[in-house]
């Protein structure tokens, strides 16, 4: 029996879909059997980020309404044999499925996969209720901005109501330089307000945007700092103890010189 993890945030645009795609891929990279489920009906993105858009035949609503079998709607990833995704419908809206229907699908998936990663839509309405219905655990994604932290806090409260306890936190799009200058909320401030376990910090990285546009999850590119962060998070999900990586970006000629002379 696998584990269903919902990736949620409340606020839009903080990186739920990117996180879902990268964690799903990273877990597959670590040899796990993974299925990603996009519950953002009407605004599906996960397939685009994964570069699987052109393979969609059936979707989540088709499965829920019995137009096809679950196995027919699943799309196999082009990179991994044991990575699949269930796309959302693009032509319907969130009311096209019920939380019970999503729960049934997730329960079926859990019997075949080690991890079911559920990509939650923004907001706290029906779409959120659908996404959390079948989840065993939750990962809350936020960015170091007041508005995102406020919404994450609200979501943590709602997850408690839905009886999903002990959600974990990912702070996404961290800019170490701005944090250092005090222009951005720092990690400790975010953690002290939200008061949940920190699962990982993902630095802001242009490679993520590039990767998403080319339909290749960042995590595949070992040169990207965000990729390393996602791989570390995946290992933490598997129970490994991986220290948080240092935030400082080690670039610049001066730093390299210092390193050469052993004073860095």
């Amino acid at each position: 029996m696998g584990e269903a993890i919902v990736i949620t945030s409340g606020k839009g645009g903080v990186g739920k879909t990117t996180t879902s795609a990268n964690l799903g891929t990273a877990l597959a990279l670590l040899g796990k059997k993974v299925c990603m489920v996009d519950t953002d009906i009407g605004l599906r993105n996960l397939d685009v980020v994964m570069g699987l858009e052109n393979r969609i035949i059936y979707d989540l609503v088709d499965v829920a309404e019995g137009r096809c079998r679950l196995s027919q709607a699943l799309i196999k990833d082009k990179r991994f044999d044991e990575l699949y995704m269930l796309p959302a419908a693009q032509t319907k809206d969130k009311h096209a499925v019920s939380p019970e229907a999503v729960r049934d699908i997730v329960v079926q998936l859990k019997s075949d996969y080690d991890y079911v990663i559920i990509d939650c839509p923004a907001g706290i309405e029906q779409g959120f209720k659908n996404a959390v219905a079948g989840a065993d655990k939750a990962i809350v994604v936020t960015t170091p901005e007041n508005a995102a932290v406020r919404d994450a806090d609200r979501i943590i409260g709602l997850l408690e109501q839905e009886r999903i306890h002990g959600p974990k936190l990912i702070i996404n799009r961290v800019k170490p330089l701005m944090m250092k200058k005090g222009e951005m909320l720092d990690i400790d401030e975010v953690c002290s307000v939200l008061a949940i376990d920190l699962l990982g910090i993902v630095p802001d990285d242009e490679a993520v945007i590039k990767a998403a546009n080319s339909g290749e999850p960042t995590v595949m590119n070992p040169k990207s700092r965000a990729a390393i962060a996602y791989r570390n998070i995946a290992r933490r999900i598997l129970g490994d103890t991986v220290p948080l990586m240092p935030l400082e970006e080690k670039t610049g000629v001066f730093r390299k010189f210092k390193k050469i002379f052993g004073i860095g």
């Binding site: 007041n146 932290v149 406020r150 919404d151 806090d153 609200r154 943590i156 409260g157 709602l158 002290s192 307000v193 939200l194 008061a195």
Partner: protein, 220 residues
């Protein structure tokens, strides 16, 4: 075999008989035992002179139909006359003394509201977007980053204290204050807000006893 508590105990008193009915078993068990006792073991009660009966139900609260069923079984023989069927009067929840402080704990997250009648000691944080409303005083043993409203029904003497006072807004009675541009917060010692001549002011907690000498918490 273990000794079970009798579900129906019959006792003779000056006025007649008292049926004590155990309140920890099901109603059908009561009926079963009552029929068994009156029909078999205590049959002798059913023949003889008229005897008044009181039925005491403990904390059990049966509906009218169930009461009637009990009365019917007892009165079956003709000589037992049911005078009363009564339950213990429910214990009235005692009103808290006005200066009592109730303790709650947790985190008031964005979008959540904690309401309380009286004084509250909240152990935990109140996050931005979270609200805590009390008719009395509010003491937050944690960070107050959200909104707190003390004296919500108009008590101008109410105070709001917090270990870490960084609220989005404070309200006492009908006075609303919006820190920190209205009063500067210097360091992180425990502080409290109160109304002084219609304005909200803030001070260190160790000044509370001087500012509110007759206050339940301020008075020595």
């Amino acid at each position: 075999m273990t000794e079970t508590k009798p579900r129906v105990t019959i006792k003779g008193v000056k006025e007649g008989l008292v049926f004590w009915i155990d309140d920890s078993c099901t109603f059908s068990e009561v009926i079963e035992e009552l029929e068994h006792k009156l029909g078999k073991t205590h049959r002798s009660f059913l023949s003889g002179p008229a005897v008044p009966v009181q039925v005491k139900l403990g904390s059990r609260r049966p509906n009218e139909a169930e009461k009637e069923q009990i009365a019917r079984i007892i009165a079956k023989g003709g000589n037992l006359i049911v005078r009363s069927i009564e339950s213990d009067s429910p214990e009235e929840p005692k009103p808290l003394p006005p200066d009592a402080v109730v303790l709650m704990k947790g985190i008031v997250r964005s979008g959540q509201t904690v309401r309380h009648e009286g004084n509250l000691l909240y152990v935990g944080d109140v996050n931005p977007g979270g609200t805590i409303v009390c008719t009395g005083d509010i003491f937050v043993l944690g960070a107050l980053r959200g909104m707190a409203h003390a004296g919500a029904e108009g008590d101008q003497r109410a105070i709001i204290a917090a270990s870490y006072m960084r609220p989005t807004q404070l309200r006492i009675a009908d006075v609303i204050s919006r820190p920190p541009d209205e009063w500067g917060i210097a360091d992180a010692s425990m502080e409290f807000a109160y109304i002084h001549e219609g304005n909200m002011e803030i001070d260190k907690i160790n000044r509370l006893y001087r500012l509110r000498p007759n206050h339940p918490f301020g008075g020595a």
